[in-house]
């Protein structure tokens, strides 16, 4: 089979491939944000964390020659930003949303500043696992070149769900997010739990960022993120604070993001930019469809400031 023989069948295939590829950063950021929000605090700074993760991961991979070291450093940079967010929010009369926006600007700004020297050089990329070895079609093969980080994210979601339900850590996290008063009466330290939850959430978001620069699109520049960090926050609401639903939501958004390029590849160029806007239109449409002015969102942690 040659390249053209797939014809229109190339579109769903490309959307599927895109869903897997584009969804990975969404998946990590939304899982991290889900964890943070379960503790009753919202971190809007994950966009900055994502970009910072992309930069630090790329720089580390370039300097050490090991992309996995880059992933680790990206995660650590993310948890550092998360820790900063949590420490500022622990002060009296500090609004977590305002802090998040400030950290979003800080993270991106810092990444641009520190990342200038790394725009030109090519860092080693994360290896992909060729799940498409059985096929003779180049398109199928490239679509099924799956990055191990995606699989890690897939495994992480049910693990988080299990952890939130059956481990002491998960239960304490949820109690803090559901009722600070009850948590205090039980003797749990609310700020410490939220600090750990925000740091862990930052770690995941940083790892998500490293995927951007070390796998797809696979380079470091200042236009690398197109708002995935912020979209992922909306994703968590859409997924009703359920880690497993976060996977499906991420795949949906990834697929929507791949629609424009997929159509272009089969020759549909009209409305290219319109199709590229699909994820954003989808965000808006879903938020409108699932929200109501009358009542609170089901499943929202009761201590979350935006839903109170």
């Amino acid at each position: 089979m040659d390249h053209a023989s797939l014809g229109w069948w190339g579109v769903p295939l490309a959307v599927l491939a895109g869903a897997i590829r584009v969804s990975t950063p969404f998946l990590f950021v939304s899982l991290g944000e889900c964890l943070t929000e379960k503790s009753g605090r919202i971190n809007l700074g994950l966009e900055g964390t994502l970009v910072m993760g992309a930069m630090s991961g790329y720089a580390t991979a370039y300097l050490t020659g090991n992309p996995w070291a880059g992933v680790l450093v990206a995660g650590l940079a993310g948890s550092l930003l998360g820790t900063l967010h949590a420490m500022i929010c622990a002060l009296e009369r500090v609004n977590d949303i305002a802090v998040g926006i400030a950290l979003m600007l800080l993270g991106t700004g810092l990444a641009f500043f520190l990342g200038k020297p790394f725009i030109q050089p090519q860092a080693p990329q994360l290896p992909a696992i060729p799940f498409g070895w059985w096929s003779s079609s180049a398109q199928v093969r490239s679509a099924l070149d799956i990055n191990p980080l995606f699989l890690v994210g897939l495994a992480l979601a049910p693990l988080l769900l299990w952890g939130l339900r059956t481990t002491r850590w998960g239960m304490v996290l949820r109690i803090v997010g559901e009722s600070a008063e009850a948590a205090r009466a039980m003797g749990y330290q609310i700020n410490r739990v939220r600090l750990l939850a925000t740091a862990a959430g930052g770690f995941f978001a940083g790892v998500g960022g490293s995927f951007l620069s070390l796998s797809y699109p696979g380079s470091w520049n200042e236009r690398l993120s197109s708002g995935q960090g912020i979209t992922a926050v909306a994703l968590v609401i859409f997924a009703r604070w359920d880690p497993v639903l976060c996977v499906w939501a991420s795949l949906l958004f990834g697929g929507a993001g791949a629609l424009g390029p997929a159509l272009q590849s089969v020759g549909v160029t009209q409305g290219y930019h319109l199709f590229n806007a699909a994820p954003y239109v989808l965000t808006l449409a879903i938020m409108i469809a699932t929200s109501s002015s009358r009542h609170r969102l089901a499943g929202a942690p009761a201590e979350l400031s935006v839903t109170r």
């Binding site: 059956t166 109690i175 008063e181 009850a182 009542h295």
Partner: protein, 522 residues
Amino acid sequence: MNVMSRIVPQPIIPLGPADGAPAPGLEAVAITKRFGAFTALDAVSLKLRPGTVHALLGENGAGKSTLVKCIMGFYRPDEGAVVVGDREVVIGDPRAAQTHGLGMVYQHFTLVPRMTVLENLVMARASVPAVIDWRAERRRLAAFLDTMPFTVDVDAPVATLAAGDKQKAEIVKQLYLDARVLILDEPTSVLTPDEADEMLGLIRGMALAGRLSVLIITHKFREVMAFADDVTVLRRGRLAGSGAVADHTPDSLARLMIGDSSTAVPVERRGPPGTAARLRIAGLRADDDGGLPALHGVDLTVRMGEIVGVAGVSGNGQVELVQVLAGQRAATAGSVSIGDEPYRATREEMRRHKVHCLPEEPLRNACVPGMSVAENMAFRSFDEPPIARGRWWLDPAAMRRAALDLIARYRVKTTGPDAPIATLSGGNVQRAVLARELSREVDVLIAANPVFGLDFAAVADIHAQIVEARNRGTAVLLVSEDLDELLELSDRLVVMSHGAIVHETTPAAADLTVIGRCMAGH
């Protein structure tokens, strides 16, 4: 530690004094607690004998909560000691209190609403395994509940339990945590009279069996007389009196609580209510914050010069009813009319029909905490002369003058009209809102729990204002969780349960058993 192993009992305590060690006593010795220059507690002592029920009485601000918080380790007392059994103990935080066998049930429930009873109880334990085997925990809790004189559905999310069952779950939690000395903070404030009697009876039974020593914070004399062995009365941070309940009468306790200062004599309702219906609510329906129906067709009429009391356990639609009437919530069906005209609670209609509102928690629901007393008092009048010149130019001097007049007339204690209203005490915020709402001509007054958390003097004052408004011909809808308040003030009394009016009576003909049963939804 030797001391602790002696005090901490076995995990499962069989009922009856013969099995296991009897519950220890508790003693607070000359406890003093200061907050800056203010002395909240001045050398207060209290002795809870083993296996008894001890009532702690006092007005709001008398220091009851401070004393209990010192015992439970929330505050560290400046002077004095806490003795459990016969050992002096130092309690640094609530967790430490738990290890000494002290447990407290708070006025506001502290269970996590969206988690099940089982999850709540397991997570409250001092040590929880890293990975929880829910099936084993469930078996263990069920076995423990078999030793209890009452049952609780352990798999129900706490939010779905009735108030009485929530209270029981809180008590079960403390017993599950091996509490042998139980402190209850106003335990019956959210219960129907029947539920309260049942709960206190069970508690007393366990105390008599030697299983528990109980300290109850309360302001209800009836409960003290019926269920307590001993009583301690606090007044303004000092010990006003203590002793066996048998040696006291409700009158002598009241004198100890308030002291010799006389309070305002209650204003009498004068004359029969009018005959013309003023506020008419028909088939009113509304949803709660969760989008679920909260009002299921409320029908209610209030005549001129009449106080209609709405009784009910909180959470049965009273909040939503008041919000619809105050314009804070949209009705989904039904109608409200004033006189003969439909009423949709717009600002213009409120002004035209002279509808005024005293919502509960006025600082939250009727004030802007950061704005000044004068500004808060002008919320009804800032857009009309004399405060607004030419309808849009604000005259701050006129606003201040109006506020000074109201502050004097309604005896609002404030450092001045420019102080942020959040700096006032609860009673004075209530008075300031009352001044704003009642100083103008009022045809319809909607009041919700208007004296919640206020001291005797403020309560008498605000009740007098409401009755005076009624005597002037105002139609008053009074929603309250305090049945005594309603019986005292109302011309007519209705009971609200599950979002509907289920019973109507007059205070004179009221049968408490019937009312209690209606409140409980039977």
